[in-house]
């Protein structure tokens, strides 16, 4: 093999390695960690007992047998205002079909949370995660973030950002057996 051919092969090899490394780095930079699939989907939801904003404590395990929509939100969160009508509509449609919508107030203060609920006209239960331990257990990366649990308490869906009413209602239709109107 001549020196020229050998040098050409060497140069091609070096360029190929550089291209592969550059491609890996580029894909890493473009990857948004918050968009990563939650390792909890398909597993039992972390259990919690949290005080309701204006009511008795709520124990998640006690809701076993019902489909639960756990929605992490905060009064300071703009996107939470955007999704609120969808959550209110979902609650109104499914509350008599074995579905519980449960708001989890995240990094907020109670007075602001009460004002928010009053202004948005929502009447599903809201609990307060004062030390964010429940948010950490669910792997929350920001609000709003919503988890849909089936009747056995297993997480079947995780929605990052504002919920979309048709998509959420389609998921709930499947879980409750299409009985809700």
């Amino acid at each position: 093999m001549s020196v020229g051919v050998r040098r050409g092969l060497l140069l091609t090899g070096v360029l190929a390695v550089v291209a592969i490394v550059a491609a890996l780095l580029t894909s890493g930079l473009r990857h948004d960690p918050s968009a990563t699939a939650s390792p909890l989907v398909g597993r039992a939801a972390p259990d919690f007992t949290l005080p309701e904003l204006d009511g008795p404590p709520v124990h998640l395990a006690a809701l076993r047998g019902q489909v639960v929509v756990v929605n992490f939100w905060a009064s300071w969160c703009t996107e939470c205002h955007t999704e609120q009508p969808a959550l209110n509509a979902t609650w109104a449609r499914f509350r008599d079909s074995g579905v519980v919508v449960l708001g989890v107030d995240f990094e907020d203060n109670d007075a602001d949370a009460r004002d928010y609920i009053a202004s948005e006209g929502s009447d599903y239960p809201v609990v307060v995660d004062a030390n964010s331990n429940t948010a950490l257990a669910f792997g929350v990366r920001g609000v709003p973030e919503t988890y849909v649990l089936d009747r056995s308490g297993r997480i079947v869906d995780r929605i990052i950002g504002a919920v979309d009413a048709p998509t959420l209602e389609h998921t709930l239709d499947l879980l409750v057996g299409g009985g809700a109107q």
């Binding site: 960690p33 918050s34 990563t36 699939a37 939650s38 390792p39 909890l40 972390p46 990094e107 030390n131 964010s132 331990n133 948010a135 950490l136 257990a137 669910f138 792997g139 929350v140 990366r141 920001g142």
Partner: protein
């Protein structure tokens, strides 16, 4: 105009060899340093607070842009630091605490890739590249030395075989000599 390459002066080729040897020495020293750091790791923490800080420094703040849990001012990162301290006091190891966060957030919560699965590539690749570099440097130096020996005509140097044309010319010259002999 001469088209032949002029051989490098002996002093210059000597310098090139010395620079090559120095580069090789630096590469070998780097390799040894990497191995020592990889094997020894960080010094053991003296207090729970130090250990909690070391663990927090290996975790990515989930709601920040590329900040560790140790460096992030976000309340959620503060709560993670508090959880780390509580779990250390409860007797859990650093690996168990990290595994707890990975169970909720996945591997992306780790600032360094995991020491298993595809993550191992990140730890093995630098050594492979360094080894390839050392090998390339050794081969380059050996090639340089061989060329120097050939240029100086030293004994033991591998000479290139004469070409067919050279052989023919040599045979012609010998034949002419024999004809001229009385």
């Amino acid at each position: 105009m001469s088209t032949g390459r002029r051989p490098l002066p002996a002093r210059l080729t000597g310098w090139a060899g010395a620079v090559g040897l120095a580069a090789l020495a630096v590469l070998v020293a780097g390799l040894i340093a990497l191995i020592v750091v990889a094997v020894r790791g960080e010094p053991p923490p003296a207090t729970i607070a130090q250990e909690a800080h070391q663990i927090a420094a290996t975790l990515r703040c989930p709601i920040c842009e590329d900040l560790s849990v140790a460096d992030s001012p976000a309340p959620l990162a503060g709560q993670m630091r508090q959880q780390i301290t509580q779990q250390l006091k409860a007797g859990r190891t650093a690996d168990q605490i990290r595994a707890n966060f990975v169970a909720s957030y996945g591997d992306t919560v780790l600032l360094s890739p995991p020491h298993q699965g595809i993550g191992q590539i990140a730890y093995v690749l630098p050594f492979v590249v360094l080894g390839a570099g050392v090998l390339a440097a050794v081969l380059l130096l050996r090639g340089n030395k061989r060329r120097q020996r050939v240029a100086r005509g030293k004994p033991g140097a591998r000479q290139a075989d004469p070409s067919v044309a050279d052989r023919d010319r040599l045979a012609d010259a010998l034949a002419r000599l024999r004809e001229e002999e009385p």
